[in-house]
């Protein structure tokens, strides 16, 4: 357990009190995690970095609203980061009318996102997208394929439950159940990493 003065929660409390050095320390600790998430959601380096900066800025502005009973600080940051990255993903999709499969990497027949992929813009982007897809599949490897699909669409694609149901042609209840089973599988190893919360 981290000591009180530099725990994530203490840093956020100091940020809420106007301590910008605490923001710096929190950034040092979590920038890579946040960037990793943004990268897997967005792919493009510039977009991902912009999302990281927006994430920490929002954390600074909203530090007073952090509620430890709703999850760890890292969870709060991830939630912000994912939200900011998905905003960019949607904006990009609107701009380019980019099909979802161009944003969420397909998992190359390993049980990932179903359906056809849009042609990648160039071979390098295609290679990167494939690599991201493999990494995502590996991160979710403990999940059965049908659960992984729901998590990929929801978490990396930012789809709502009804959009997932439409896309997978599954009943909404089945989508919900698969999401629950998936998260219950994912939660087990996390318990050791939670900090601060009782």
């Amino acid at each position: 357990m981290p000591n009180d003065s530099d725990s994530d929660a203490a840093l956020v409390a100091r940020m809420a009190a106007g301590d910008e050095q605490a923001l710096g320390v929190l950034y040092d600790r979590w920038a890579t995690t946040v960037h990793t998430l943004a990268y897997y959601l967005l792919g493009q380096a510039d977009d991902a970095e912009d999302a990281v900066e927006e994430t920490f800025w929002q954390a600074w502005r909203e530090a007073g609203r952090y509620d430890a009973s709703r999850g760890a600080v890292s969870t709060w940051l991830s939630t912000i980061a994912r939200s900011r990255a998905l905003d960019r993903q949607r904006a990009r999709r609107r701009r380019a009318e980019e099909p979802l499969d161009g944003v969420v990497p397909s998992s190359d027949g390993s049980g990932g996102i179903a359906g056809s992929r849009s042609p990648a813009a160039n071979p390098q982007q295609e290679a990167e997208a494939s690599e991201r897809a493999r990494d995502i599949a590996a991160a979710l490897e403990k999940l059965p394929a049908e659960q992984r699909e729901v998590i990929e669409l929801a978490y990396f694609g930012g789809l709502s439950q009804s959009e997932i149901a439409a896309r997978t042609s599954l009943p909404l209840g089945t989508v919900k159940t698969r999401a629950r089973l998936a998260l219950e599988k994912l939660r087990a190893p996390l318990a050791q990493h939670r900090e601060g919360a009782p």
């Binding site: 950034y27 890579t32 946040v34 990793t36 970095e49 990281v52 709703r70 439950q161």
Partner: protein, 289 residues
Amino acid sequence: MSESSGHDAVRDLLAMDALDALSPADRAALDRHLTTCDECKRELAALRDATASIAAALPPRPMAPERQQGMRARLVARAIEDRAGITPIRGGSSSPSSPTSPPQSAASATQSARPTFARWLAAAALLLAIGAIAYDFSLRGTIQRLSVARAELRDSTSALERRLADQQAILDGLTGPGVRVIDASVASARQPYARMFWDQLTNRWTFVAHNLPATAPGHTYQLWLVTRDQKKVSAGTFTPSAGGFALVRATYPLSPDSLAAIAVTNEPAGGSAQPTTTPFLVGAAAKTD
């Protein structure tokens, strides 16, 4: 889904909410249930942590070191600006005022004086400002900074003058959606004036005064909180700096509507249990609603 739904009925909603994928209708149903069910709230927190763990399971993709450091510097610099460079003052709804133009604010402050405290107000040389300040983190940061700065500079009068002027500039700019400051002064530039900031969530009081005359030997100024039932609570004694500055901080719980005024009296060194002289500064508190 109704609020009478038990844990089993909302279990699937919890997972979807952790993924931010709930429909608005389901979201509303879940929110209703969560207001009454701590068990589900804990479960949701655990599922949110599980969701966040997906990011941790991905191979790390750090930014280039120089770009990461550049972003850090930008964020910290923006935070400093955000904390200190607050937008121009916004007065209370009844008496907007600007600390940078005291002559204009004199009239509005006079209008805000409450006749029910005529006894105190008649004795006053002038009105003080009282800001009833709702919770605002930028204010808390500023107050914290003032406190730190004051401790650092206790031994250096000239540095204190400089830094307090700087801090005053920060205080002058204090504003925001939750901040209400009623300012008052008189036209003459060298007249005393003061401002009280009351953080009603933390019960911290910060009193800043300018152009105060020096106290006579063996005497001190004493700051009082005057409640609506005429109780006078000491908020501490102080002596102004050579330049007439004073900054007093106190912590005292008071319900938002029970403050009538603040006052400053001249007291024997060490202070008094109750005021023994007529206050020479008084500020009436406007109703906080």
